[in-house]
Symmetry: C2
Subunit: 343 residues, 2 copies
DNA sequence: CCAAATCTTTGAATCGTTTCATTGTTACGA
DNA sequence: TCGTAACAATGAAACGATTCAAAGATTTGG
């Protein structure tokens, strides 16, 4: 219930000036050993804790960084958030997290809040078109780094993942393990990620003259959507089936796997190899452990913080767009047929 | 790059006193229509945004609430966080989120940070023994509400879920659908949740004289752990098998389901019914949609905020421990045998 | 038309920190 | 012993909002 102790109380208690207490906290070298000890004792005895609002007011900006993601429930973002928090902590900042939930007005509210809080900078995975607002923020000295979205380097710094490369990686892996009749499962094609991954897969398939790629449109990116595509495949004649399937994400792949393994006529990976995208936790514990493409979420979060730090330091108008390449994770679902039958 | 406009700039621009601008923002009724318009125009023209640090300094406390969870990646907490954010927004507060990751020192860092920020109050799902720290916070006027942990009402308010009731609900449901030879899968027994759910299940089984409950210890709470318990069951003689299995969480249940369905000798739910706990997203899209026990996460988050508001309003030393009862979600994995064979 | 009551507006004081010019202290060589 | 340099400590000013007593303007009733 006591109002908490201020730096003034500490100064009185230690019989020094307030400036000295401040120096003990911020520039310990400027203070003599004796005085320092006295002050520290007083701090301890009074249980003094700095008031961040006052520091901030004086400094003109806070030590927090705003981070707005599309969905905290999505493991992709959860992981980015964690990495960003850790990286921020290293440089003495804290992350204020906002979840827009794909909702432009929630997103806007968070931008308001962060502006009132005078955050040092903003990391955002935007829903709507927020460029106008971000421009205002920049004029006010609050730089932004876009997350999971490629930005024009003249405008903003950004961190993103190369989905085309990911698609290439997945398809190339199927080809490398001997598959030739590939299928891509994903949809709707209007989603950039879905389209880019397909494009990358096409690129890989073109490298092998005898390889083909069939595109199977799915109704969304869920396990159920995958299952219905899988059921459709099961009904086909065996000769007509692909021997390697690449799904736009792991949920789809798990759905396809459910369909194929339920009817005990088709085996994964002997008859059909299967690879997903995202490498969610469940991939490793599927009935047949699922190969996948892992996005470098930790690097995304860390780098976003680093780019923001760059923006804060230099006043140059040049920005950087860092594009990461995802990583292939090989598991049993794409094991070469001979390896499996040998085992 | 411009330092952003202050209330003083607005006052000059509108040719009024700073107090008037403040009144326009906080007590619009005290200001005449003409003046108000002039001030609002000035605010708009200068793009003025309140400096929260200054408000906070004057007010002595912030408009933020600290929330420390064990793991933001866990859907249970993700959902609690969301609900808390929404409830806080309704009362004009923002939530500062911290992820302790089951790590006592990270937890402690967040408490430090929140204390410096002078949060209004703290919601915490504690890792270590933080009662000493929380007592200090309370003395300083920062009340705490414990989340997902039952607290002594003389000490703290808390919101928690009755795991015993959840266990009872699950077992009772298996019994109600005609199963009599039940099994409980979970471990290690040292985890409170695991033990409480078992206790509830035992209670239900005692109500049916002809029912039995076998306890199968699992090595953790993962899909893989569930699968190895499942494999062990598959090897048993058919007469020796349970006809209803209750797993301490959904991951275990999904693992058990994988084992049982892979060997096409046992059918779910005809031969064995299966129910999990937590109702994770995957439960609905399992090969056989999984029945489960849903925890009222939204209610937890919302109520935690409400209890905190109570603490902030009244100065009474009495606290409240709100205990929620979980909810049964019935899906195909526990359908009565006759229903399924009929369909 | 005046006094009283009501409504508006004013601006200095305040919150707790950091900064920095100034003052005070100590040590050392000449 | 004195002058100087290096080091310590001081405390007023500033950050930007809110508050509130007081002054000023306007309305009301007689």
């Amino acid at each position: 219930m006591n109002r908490s102790a201020s730096i003034k109380d500490v100064a009185n208690h230690a019989s020094v000036a307030v400036g000295t207490v401040s120096n003990v906290l911020n520039y310990p070298d400027r203070v003599s050993q004796r005085t320092k000890e006295r002050v520290l004792r007083a701090i301890d005895e009074l249980g003094f804790v700095r008031n961040d609002a006052a520091r901030q007011l004086r400094a003109g900006h806070s030590r927090t960084i705003g981070l707005i993601v599309l969905d905290v429930g999505n493991p992709f973002f959860t992981s980015v958030v964690r990495a960003a928090e850790d990286a921020a902590a290293l440089q003495g900042s804290a992350v204020l997290l906002g979840d827009s939930g794909h909702n432009a007005s929630r997103e806007s509210n968070y931008i308001d809040l962060f502006q009132e809080q005078r955050v040092q900078g903003l990391l955002i995975s935007p829903v709507g078109d927020v460029t106008a607002r971000l421009d205002v923020l920049r004029e006010r000295g609050i730089p932004t780094v876009l997350v999971d979205r490629l930005a024009d380097e003249n405008q903003y710094s950004s961190v993103s993942v190369d989905d085309d490369a990911g698609g290439y990686l997945a398809a190339r892996h199927l080809l490398d393990t001997g598959r030739r009749r590939l299928a891509y499962v994903g949809g709707p094609a209007s989603i950039r990620q879905v389209a880019d991954r397909l494009q990358g897969a096409r690129r890989a398939v073109k490298e092998e003259p005898d390889a083909t790629l069939e595109v199977l449109d799915s109704d969304g990116q869920t396990v159920l959507a995958g299952r219905s595509v899988g059921n459709m495949l099961v009904e086909r004649g065996r000769a007509d089936l692909p021997d390697g399937i690449f799904c736009a994400n792991d949920l789809l792949a798990l759905g396809v796997m459910q369909s194929l393994t339920m009817t005990h006529t088709l085996r994964i990976p002997e008859d059909i190899a299967l690879i997903g995208y995202d490498d969610i936790d469940f991939a490793v514990s599927a009935v047949v452990p699922l190969s996948s493409i892992r996005q470098p979420t930790e690097a995304l979060g860390r780098t976003a913080i680093e780019l923001l730090a760059e923006e804060l330091e230099s006043n140059n108008p040049r920005h950087r767009a860092v594009i990461f390449t995802p990583e292939l994770v090989v598991r049993q679902s794409t094991a070469p047929a001979q390896d499996v039958s040998a085992g």
